[in-house]
């Protein structure tokens, strides 16, 4: 059975000033599936996923054409509530970026800025989210310690847990393991596989094996173009484009 479409992009063009970073990207991201974006550095994969939660708004001089729809919401429409969108679409960054606050404060942040004051509710959400991110046992005795004292892998899982607190529908991972050691990487990958039961996940990765291990769909991008997009096992076994095959076999990139 074919999964439902969660996000669909239509003819997306994106410009940094006069440089065209994305060229006519159209694709559908499916609900409760892991979609991986692979491709060499600078191919536009991060730029693309940052369109889904409008993080590119922060960069001055950028412009987007085309439409991205999420459950009927036109993401780039000027009247779209960005704050609400970002609550629905969580993001985990390349470098773990916990705030220089306690673990608990990091976790509660999303709720507090959302105006929630009920302490027992916050506490319960924090605990379930930490458990969800398989971090609770590591940190349950030191919730009031600085988050910066955690190891890199723990910090990244904290960042994932921090997203889960606000109960998003989509999770964007922008090279989440780029700065982590192999064991931490494996933990994050296991977590992604676990989380996809409840969330639509989009992940950008440099690591092709990682895409093969965690994703259901894989998009291969090159120089701002979407070269091929299909089920992951097809991309990795019988790619239709020669360029995809060459990239996957390490002939360039």
């Amino acid at each position: 059975m074919a999964p439902e479409t969660k996000i669909s992009a239509h003819d997306i063009n994106f410009f940094y000033g006069k440089t065209k970073a994305l060229k006519d990207i159209s694709l559908d991201v499916y609900d409760k599936q892991v979609t991986a974006f692979i491709g060499p550095s600078g191919c536009g994969k991060s730029t693309f996923i940052r369109l889904i939660n409008r993080m590119n708004d922060l960069i001055p001089g950028t412009r987007v054409e085309g439409r991205i729809m999420m459950d009927g919401l036109d993401i780039n429409h000027p009247k779209t509530d960005v704050v609400d969108l970002r609550r629905r679409v969580g993001m985990v960054f390349q470098k773990p970026n916990p705030f220089p606050k306690t673990i608990y404060e990091n976790m509660a942040y999303g709720l507090i800025i959302g105006g929630i004051r009920d302490k027992s509710f916050i506490e319960q959400r924090v605990v379930t989210s930490l458990k969800r991110a398989a971090l609770y046992d590591d940190v349950k005795d030191r919730l009031n310690d600085s988050a910066l004292k955690l190891s890199g892998g723990q910090q990244q899982r904290l960042c994932i847990a921090r997203c889960l607190v606000v109960e998003p529908e989509v999770l964007l991972f922008d090279e989440p393991c780029a700065s982590l050691d192999p064991i931490s990487t494996r933990k994050i990958e296991e977590l992604i596989l676990e989380l996809k039961k409840d969330y639509t996940i989009v992940i950008v990765t440099h690591n092709m094996q990682q895409a093969a291990r965690v994703s259901d769909y894989t998009a291969f991008m090159y120089l701002g173009e979407l070269i091929e997009y299909d089920r992951t096992e097809k991309i990795f076994t019988v790619p239709r484009q020669r360029m995809t095959e060459e990239y996957l076999s390490g002939k360039f990139g």
């Binding site: 939660n53 993080m55 922060l58 704050v83 609400d84 970002r86 609550r87 969580g90 993001m91 960054f93 470098k95 970026n97 916990p98 705030f99 220089p100 606050k101 942040y109 999303g110 507090i112 800025i113 959302g114 600085s146 910066l148 960042c159 921090r162 997203c163 606000v166």
Partner: protein
């Protein structure tokens, strides 16, 4: 070993002249290095000597008069007896007033310049103006304060006028320091906050400012410390030679340590007694300013420990 030796021998044989020249050059550069080093050390020692002798001079002359009475009592018998407590209190009031005025204003300006300004021509002019404000002589600030706060706004010669004048003088430094502290907050913190659905203002309030706070406070304290000992800005705006007791409102004129020193040295009728009092005041002022700076250093140190940078 043998091969090494033969290679060296070989080198010397093939270019003996060059070798000796190089050795000479080395010796020359060694010599200039040592000379340069001695020169630099000498400069530091001279600077330290002046600093040390100022402290020693003020301390040795001022310490003799310092006593509990001197710190806690009002002046008596035409400034020849009693203490200088009103001047200490006055300086504290003026300093606190300057902070109360300059901190919010400077912080708000820095937030605007860092976070909201479009970064265009007008903003660059604002930045330039702020930086130039730092170079304006203090007596000019004093005249400005007199014309605007004392006369135009009708605050009179008062704590309020003096605090505002000192505050304006500290403002450029505070804005620059706050800007630096805000810009030093990693972009990744802001991204994390915004990505969690925080508004720009929430991000500033909950992430940027708390992270930048130690840096901002350090800047505020250092700049306040710098202006707290100024005489010229309060000369026409706040200070007076003698008050009966302590000020009772922000519209009172006050005694202040820097002005008190100035007055004792220029208008005193019994210099043989009053000069000693002036040195006592100088010592207290020096201690106050050093204490303020020490606060800044402690804060900065604490920040380093917290963020491990």
């Amino acid at each position: 070993m043998t091969t090494n030796k033969s290679v060296t021998d070989n080198l010397i044989e093939t270019c003996p002249k060059k070798g000796s020249q190089q050795r000479k050059l080395f010796r020359l550069s060694d010599f200039t290095q040592v000379l340069g080093f001695i020169f630099l050390i000498g400069c530091i020692l001279v600077a330290l000597f002046f600093l040390g002798s100022i402290i020693y001079f003020i301390f040795s002359r001022g310490i003799t008069i310092i006593s509990w009475e001197f710190l806690t009592e009002v002046p008596r018998r035409a400034m020849t007896k009693g203490g200088v407590a009103p001047a200490i209190v006055g300086t504290l009031y003026l300093t606190l007033g300057a902070i109360a005025f300059a901190l919010p204003l400077g912080l708000a300006s820095a937030i605007y310049l860092c976070e909201y300004s479009p970064g265009n021509f007008v903003v660059n002019i604002i930045r330039l103006a702020i930086n130039n404000l730092a170079g304006v002589p203090s007596v000019v600030f004093g005249l400005f304060g007199f014309a605007v706060f004392v006369k135009l706004f009708g605050f009179g010669v008062s704590i309020l006028s003096g605090s505002l004048t000192l505050g304006i003088m500290a403002l450029p430094g505070i804005i620059s320091a706050a800007q630096e502290a805000i810009l030093a907050v990693p972009q990744s913190y802001k991204e994390a906050s915004l990505a969690l659905g925080a508004t720009h203002w929430q991000t500033i309030k909950k992430v940027v400012l708390p992270t930048a706070l130690p840096g901002i406070l350090t800047g505020v304290i250092l700049n306040i410390g710098r202006v707290a000992g100024e005489t010229a800005p309060i000369l026409f705006t706040a200070a007076t030679f003698y008050t009966r007791g302590y000020p009772n409102s922000i519209f009172s004129e006050v005694m202040a340590l820097p002005y008190h020193i100035y007055a004792l040295m220029t208008e005193g009728t019994r210099p043989e007694v009053q000069t000693a009092i002036a040195y006592g005041c100088a010592l207290i002022l020096l201690a106050l300013v050093l204490a303020i700076s020490a606060c800044a250093i402690i804060l900065r140190q604490k920040q380093r420990i917290t963020y491990g940078s």
